[in-house]
């Protein structure tokens, strides 16, 4: 069964190559290939997760070089969770991207490469291997952010690239220090060797500091978050959803892995300063992320700052370092991935239907576009932490862990974070449900979705019978065809009255994905307790 582990990294890579090659023969064949690869990935990830949760961790030696000399892949409960999350979110966003675009084969090739990188980061048991996958993830993410039209996405991607590279390079420097101190790169071996070197050795300190700062950049912890709002706001909606749901999440998983599998909880106990740095990062992220989010007018920028704040919670849980908080961190990582990905997709859906992209333009949305408004409301309240949604369970465990550890300042900030989250979501929900729709002149701008500006798509989608074979989303062909003309008629339908939803720009697949994310954000909350119990042996092993 352990052969499945390397296959999970290989499948998306092969899918990526096939998507690229198929594009040479025939354009717009990327989507079905990507769905096939992502489907196989989901099936494999589920089988692996069932195996891991039943029988304990799986180790796989790559190329016959035994650990600690060769590269080892290790899958425990945390890795398995991440692999499943990556696969499921990737498949879900594909259902949305079918009609929303981008549509080129190169896009889907990069998309699958990102999935491969994220899966690799999740399953690896070797720190240098993790660096390589971190960079693969980064490269794919930069390219995806730049896949929108115009100069802004390219600028955002370049900024992301420069800052992200510094982060990854610091991570590499941290690995170099750890290697100098111990002469090994295997995580399990590092844990014992670092202890032998001594937790007060400057080499070990430097290594910890560099690894953690590098990952802080990738997670977007305040004040190292500056790449994130531009990247999320500049990218096409499908990409924002995918990246916000997965990239920072897997980086946060890497932080948990580095802190607990490599440095171990004894290192944290021996060095108060290490714990203080983590707490400081967490508190700054939660507070400043929320405060800046409140002042944003653009919805996607607001959601980006919200991510800064939510990942503060996860970093806080790492600082607390007990089993309750870590269970909470994992639940919140999964929950945040689903909720934030869902929120970005909802934003994209609303923008495609009504053209609204700022907080003010959301006024009276409930009447104009009830489905989008409802999904946004559910996801936003889930993020705030209203029970029984998954946002509540994650925060509850983290807060409980902080109280158990008697980390009072952190506990106060975590409880306050709920109010802060409410502060920026409440003003949007208030506009959606309790304000009148704007006059005909406002909010009538043509739907500015990335798909709308792609030329010649109508004929191309129509001439590709292969794509229509996909079930469930087959009906959205019409939506694609009329995209260009549909946006033109938008202005007249606004004048006609409240029925100004540009239905042609919204496909069934897009709506279904958004609704599924909203339902999942509540359903996961119900299942979270069971999941916490499943995770218990893994976390005990991690903290041993």
């Amino acid at each position: 069964m352990s052969d499945l582990v390397p296959l999970l990294v290989a499948v998306p890579i092969f899918g990526s190559i096939f998507a690229l090659l198929a594009g040479l023969v025939r354009s717009r064949t990327g989507w079905p290939l990507a769905v096939l690869a992502a489907g196989v990935q989901v099936a494999g990830a589920l089988v692996l997760a069932v195996d891991v949760f039943d029988d304990g961790p799986i180790r796989y030696v790559v190329g016959g070089f035994t650990a600690p000399f060769g590269i080892e892949l290790v899958v425990d409960g945390l890795s398995a969770t991440m692999v499943v999350l990556v696969a499921v979110v990737a498949l879900g966003v594909l259902a949305y991207a079918r009609a929303a675009g981008p549509r080129s084969n190169a896009f889907y090739a990069t998309y699958l490469l990102l999935v491969a990188g994220l899966t690799g980061m999740s399953v690896t048991g070797d720190v240098f291997n993790m660096y390589v996958f971190l960079e693969i993830t980064g490269l794919a993410a930069y390219a995806l952010v730049a896949s929108g039209d115009g100069g802004r996405p390219a600028l955002a991607a370049l900024k992301y690239l420069l800052v992200g590279t510094v982060g990854a390079s610091l991570f590499l420097l941290g690995i170099a220090y750890a290697y100098v101190a111990t002469g090994t790169l295997n995580m399990a071996d590092l844990a014992t060797q670092l202890e032998a070197v001594g937790y007060d050795s400057p080499l070990v300190w430097a290594s910890f500091g560099l690894l953690v700062s590098g990952l802080f950049v990738k997670i977007a912890v305040f004040p190292l978050h500056t790449w994130q709002p531009d990247a999320y706001a500049g990218a096409p909606d499908s990409v924002s959803a995918l990246i916000s749901a997965l990239v920072s999440t897997v980086a946060a998983y890497a932080l948990i892995r580095i802190v607990f599998s490599v440095f171990t909880v004894d290192f944290l106990a021996a060095n108060d300063i290490a714990q203080t740095v983590l707490v400081a990062g967490a508190v700054a992220s939660i507070v400043f992320g929320s405060v800046i989010a409140v002042s944003q007018r653009d919805l996607k920028r607001m959601l980006a700052y919200s991510s800064v704040s939510q990942f503060g919670l996860v970093v806080g849980a790492v600082a607390v370092a007990n089993d309750t908080a870590l269970t909470g961190a994992m639940i919140h990582l999964v929950g945040h991935g689903v909720m934030k990905g869902g929120l970005f997709l909802t934003c994209g859906l609303i923008a495609a239907a009504t053209g609204a992209r700022t907080v003010d333009e959301y006024a009276g949305l409930a009447e104009r576009f009830p489905v989008g408004a409802g999904a946004f409301g559910v996801l936003a309240l889930a993020m705030v932490g209203i029970p029984p949604a998954v946002g509540f369970v994650g925060k509850w465990y983290v807060a409980l862990g902080a109280v158990e550890a008697e980390a009072w300042p952190l506990a106060v900030v975590i409880f306050a974070s709920t109010l802060l989250t409410l502060a920026y979501f409440a003003r949007v929900i208030e506009r959606i449900y309790f304000r009148d729709p704007p006059e005909a002149s406002a909010g009538s701008g043509p739907a500015d979705s990335p798909s709308g500006s792609e030329p010649g798509q109508g004929s191309a989608a129509g001439t590709d019978p292969g794509e229509d074979a996909a079930t469930g989303v087959a009906t959205d062909g019409a939506g694609v065809d009329t995209d260009g003309t549909g946006t033109d008629t938008d202005g007249t339908s606004v004048l006609a009255g409240t029925d100004d939803v540009d239905a042609s720009a919204v496909s069934t697949g897009m709506v279904l994905t958004v609704v599924a994310a909203a339902v999942l954000s509540v359903a996961l909350g119900v299942a979270a307790f069971e999941y916490g119990q499943l995770l218990e042996p893994t976390i005990e092993r991690l903290l041993a």
Binding site: Y142, A157, L161, V166
Partner: protein
């Protein structure tokens, strides 16, 4: 003091390169120079790892060569890291070409003004 510096001169150069690279990324307004700064920064790290692998009077890691051998691992790691660095540079330059096409300049401040006017 001088002796201590002389012993570690390679490390000092590596750290100096890190500083220069960071400064170039922050201080330069030209986007291409920022990317060059990123390359200098990465090179600093590569050299740091190579220096750690240096052992006085050691031979290459071949069984036919006399002992002691140097560890080949850092060199392999750096080869991988260089490949990653080249890919990053390629992507960055690709983005810069697009930015130049769009705005007709590579000056950060000028681009910022153009974006604000949009």
């Amino acid at each position: 003091m001088i002796e201590a510096v002389a012993d570690r001169v390679y490390y000092l150069v590596a750290i100096l390169l890190l500083g220069i690279g960071t400064y170039m990324m922050i201080g330069n307004r030209n986007l291409v120079k920022k990317v060059i700064g990123m390359n200098v920064f990465q090179t600093g790290i590569f050299l740091f790892l190579i220096v750690t692998a240096y052992v006085t009077d050691a031979s290459p890691p071949l069984l036919t060569a006399p002992e002691p051998h140097v560890s080949p691992l850092p060199h392999v790691l750096i080869l991988t890291a260089i490949v990653v660095g080249v890919s990053l540079t390629a992507v960055a330059l690709g983005l810069i070409v697009r930015i130049y096409d769009e705005y007709g300049t590579l000056d950060e401040d000028a681009i910022r003004e153009l974006v604000a006017d949009e």
